[in-house]
Symmetry: T
Subunit: 161 residues, 12 copies
């Protein structure tokens, strides 16, 4: 049943492209979960401000996770966003369990978004040859995550040492 | 830092209540992930109809997960919805990886929602004594999931044998 | 085909609960019909004000009738809201045919809502043991009908003798 | 009190016109009730799609029932949409009680709408002489019901034998 | 410059049709002015209710006045809605100057709408032969004004003697 | 019945203020009628642009006419906006009957708004002593009409000689 | 498969009515295409104003084309709006290829709408006997197209000679 | 800490202005509370109409109370709207406790608004010299309260003796 | 006039229930006033964030105060929310007059909401026997206030000592 | 008049780019017409679901056709979307005339979108050198059409043989 | 071409008034630019809160700049808001280039708004004689800027030394 | 403090990219100012049409200026949009001071947008290597400005010599 949906890309291009999409999917679903984790557990004088900002990360991550997964399906490869897949594949920095100080929440989001961006930029290179349509999507995600990273970084000034 | 937020419940009531909330959180976050998994991978003549219906499950699960987690925080216990916690604690039936036939997607949602409802009804009993406010929330979630279970069950007629 | 949709309640609880729901459904569909009847046939100096208020009763009755019927289906018992079922089972006070004076319309709505509330409070007791989720729904309907009864009662001052 | 509202039509024209309106009112209120009945009790693989489509019939029937009843009042004849009047006067095909297969629901709606349309076309002829304003309303209702009949009929292909 | 806009009707049909439209325009602009007059000057225990209802007459009259005037222009005859034309041609019952009791406002609106309807029904007959498109518009206006007349008439019960 | 509504102003202040309001009411109702007249009858290459602009004048005039009339009522003097009052009291430049060239429509609006503004500025002076609340309203109307006058004047360049 | 959808009209009435609908469909789809063509290619000092006005023609034509086609289906005759059918059957005046001067765009729209209206008026006569419901739809389309024709004609003053 | 926010007014002007604002704040908060009191406790045949009208007074009073308090803060003087301050400073006529007849509610609102307006007009004079910006705000509040007073007064005809 | 509105509860249940409602009303009106007081007078680096958060408390308190008061009226007991009643009965912690540091505002809201919640939980127990409908309302209010208390408490970390 | 609008691209780049745009325009206008054709004529048990899905194709095709045509105009080449041009240039698979089974409609949309995508990918290559701005637009259209193709393909499982 | 638009003010009044407007225009355009500058470059723990607040200043400044410029045009004097005019005439305190600490951004906004207010209050005096309509606009701008100044000042507590 | 926000690009890529962004920022802020200048000062028969079109340029320029500036900040380089920077760096054609004829406004917008587009196309080349995410943004801006340039150019036909 692996060929339920036909691909519009040649085999190798499809493999490269959909690997990039699957890895991005795991990063984005993971980001949406840890963004909510921080949203719920944050404490400190900047609680309300960061609490709201974190929900914008979650919203962005959810929307693009959907687009990324559906793009993979559109190319003929079933995406995988199940709990165990995400838990196993997610490697970005994340908050510890329990309450999180506001400054720690800001710091971990800067690091996590930075790591996600680094991985996305590699996939932008990887898909240059395999599928310009997917590359364009990865560029759009990067633009948005870089904007969000900046806002946490600016919030983080002067940096925690 | 475990006492960052004070509780308005006595210790034992808080323990019982927040255990119920934490377990519900894992079920709901898990449901939102497997709902999306089926939403992306479904194939078959009922694709569009079930594809849309699954997004309503996801939307419900996300909204109540947020309410449940914030209720736990409000009672002084930090909720945990991180990828590894969800993957480890999630025990409801879920779709396999790869493409999913529409009839299989319907069947797995009936089973998954049914299992979630059974667990919620136990927690409604458990919180009767510990916290009526939380019980009221669990009742509301059960009402919504029972409605969604019915719709998949009705869609599933005559039942897959 | 009576078992097309499975129940999440044990047999006896389901019987008690769904009887309460079916009786409530008939009351609410009936209320929506007699509310419209008064809405169309009212005459007198308070025409516009009561004409509008009656449409709020209709809107409330329609919305809750839908929720009540779908809750019964969700519990595995098919609801019955067909014309002959409603006509046969509906026992609340109602306007006569023909034009209705505004003061008479107010009076009949006070009486009809009062009777409906009395019956709902009995069903709240009856479902306390059988299904807390359904009880919660009946409580919500009672709250709304008691509010509407008050507004007609206040409008009815000094009471028609 | 039968002359609470004056008519703008001569006596005979009023009689013919308001008879047509009263009969249409019963058909439309009845349609709204059996549409909901099918909406709640439908089962089968097309559950969601037909469940939603039936609510559009209900919405159409309710809106035009209101317009038709108020037109009768405007012409000086009090309309009658009480439960017993509807139950007694409603003669269109309707679903049985209990669960309804999706294909049966479609079939019964085709038949019920077809019967309603036939009766409306007779009333369009009858009001040609008595009141062009009412005729125009009946034409508009017919256009809408014919559209809805087509959609169920198209859904019904190949026809149930 | 009388032929600035060409007509799509033959000369005689145009004459008959546009006369009906011009007369309707004067009635509707006049209605919008006297509706506002009553809206501003009404006093009595039903002030708020009738004050709001009168604005619905004004809104209806303004909208249809615009449609009627543009239909005349579309048929090649310039419409005339200037103050002196309206003052000279407007013959419907209207409120006196100064404060108006609520019951008097209701009474005058019943009479004014009744007169307008009588004139519209004559024009519906007149345009049957000359232009079915214009006739259809006059039918729609009549339906709306008859509804508004009924609402004031129902409000007027028991009638002022 | 002249004292149906009490005034919050002393007698003389009320007289001066309400005269200013009554005159403004006639100007604004008149403007709304001639604005529509030009809106319907305009011809020429700028038809659509001016047709839309004229409706903004009408909308402004209607809104402020309502505020002005209700202000007079609030001060205890019944306003008069009946057809014959407007026709008799309206003295601003207005379009002739029949089709109106676009450049003529622009020109007449410049002149009519200019005349209205001149009269408003006199009333701003007149109410300085009698009622600052009314003066503030007249200032707001002047601001809006001066803006509209400018837009027609700019449209009118180079001026018709 | 020609009888997939049953008709509610007798055979001959259906034939006459659906011919009128099919011809109207071609005219409207064609109008929507040439309206866009002019919308894209117009040049000249009135560019923006006519560019926007043309999109209103397109929007009208698309909406009514949909209603007309679905009415034909509702009467049991499959409508045909495929590219070759439209190209073959469309006979209304249309813009040449390449850039179009604004005055030429106005002129061609006047002519094209005029031709469409003439054909619609014939079909209003033709369907008087065969189907009043369809006739009512054709009347509504004519009203709208005559309004749009007037607006281009007024824009076209003084007429291109 | 009295100088936490700097003033943009000289000392004496600030004192006069902020006294006027503080007194207005107490009147408006008080009005919002007694408006709600009457909204909840009104009985009689005009219940619904006055019940809704009273909520408009409450909404107006709340909105302007906020503006007035923030204006005082903006001028460097902390406003005081605490329960005891309002109870102590509020002197306008108010409803008794318990149910309130509709005619009594109308009467008390006329009196209360009239008293509030009288006090506002004094403050308009007082701030003429001290702060034109504040005066402009007081003028706007007066305009709105005078409108609301008129509507209750008109509703009150013929006046309760 | 104490029996203007009839109760649907027996005498003793009504007494217990309406005492709980009246006390809740005073707490909520008081909370809305001190929430605004803090909203206006807050100073410090978290001004904007807390200023906005306080308005959410005010909005919640106002909405539930309305529901609570109308529930009391619906049960036949006139609620009392007049300034002196609120000032006399309100006992929750509140800000002092004058400017309020942001950290003090947060601290006082934590304490005030905590006290309100403690009182609400007692009333939830008290109404368990007397009226489940009212209990359900008190549970909903408690859920909302506990959420708001948590947000201020989280903002308050590390706690002011 | 071919140079009415100047180009911002050099001659050769303009030629290559605008050829790609013109061909895309024909494909998209054609798609919008055949999407509607299937939307109107579809029959079978999936009628409603596919009927709605087809309108999303039409909406996408119309929106991008507009963007593509205006991009060509912006580059100085007049686009051509007239009926005969579309009929002549359109080569994608399309439904036959008459009723269309739902499975056939799905199949033809998969094929038609697949063909359109293949042609778009060639144009993405062709415009890489000539105009990156146009290439970006073609990439966006491809992303959307590939998503729509996937949804029909998933609906089409198991594939028609 | 200096007299393209005629003035409704005498020469000297126009000169005084339009000078006030031109100077205000430069201040407001400048404020909108430096508000954005701070919005983009702010860093520090209050980043998000002040980042959003600054956009409200920008929005206010842009809206009033438009009103002020169009008022000058309406009075017959062309406003000047070109880059070099703004750069040359803008004298309010502004942020340095490069990143801006949140506390510095707050401080500079307090100072800049304070300076703008001082200049506006002079212009309120200056236009008292020349044009009350313009004075009213300057009063409205001052009210808004004083509110925004207060919010930054309150945020700035305890003040930077 | 130049390193307040870290970059996600290597040093040289960052330099090239942010230079392109800073230059684009100046062009866009400048365009927004001169667009408004023309919007306020335009005179002539096309006043309204161009007045509205210019506001669309302003809206586009403001939105993209914000995106461009925030992208630079996201890359670690503080953007500069202060009045003196814009005045100094802005080199696109602009309207003179004083009134502007409509044809001159169109001409200057064609030239200014054309110059801006030429500069953007160079930056698209420059950022191809340094940052594909920024390049994608510059491509989007170019698409929009080329569309706006075309609309003014088409309006400009036949071209001013």
């Amino acid at each position: 049943m692996t060929s339920a949906v036909k691909s519009t890309l040649p085999e190798e291009a499809r493999r490269v492209t959909c690997e990039a999409l699957q890895d991005t999917l795991v990063d984005l679903v993971g980001l949406s979960l840890i963004g909510k984790q921080a949203h719920w557990n944050i404490v400190g004088p900047r609680f309300r401000s960061i609490h709201l900002q974190l929900d914008e990360v979650v919203s962005t991550a959810r929307t693009y996770a959907d687009t990324v997964a559906e793009r993979s399906a559109a190319l003929g490869v079933p995406p995988d966003g199940r709990p165990e897949t995400v838990a196993h594949g997610f490697t970005l920095p994340a908050p510890k369990d329990g309450w999180v100080r506001d400054s720690d929440a800001v710091q971990v989001m800067v690091e996590s978004l930075e790591a996600a961006i680094g991985r996305l930029r590699e996939r932008i290179d990887a898909t240059e040859k395999s599928d310009l349509v997917t590359q364009d999507l990865l560029i759009a995600i990067t633009a948005e995550l870089e904007k969000q990273r900046w806002m946490f970084d600016a919030e983080n000034f002067p940096r925690e040492g």
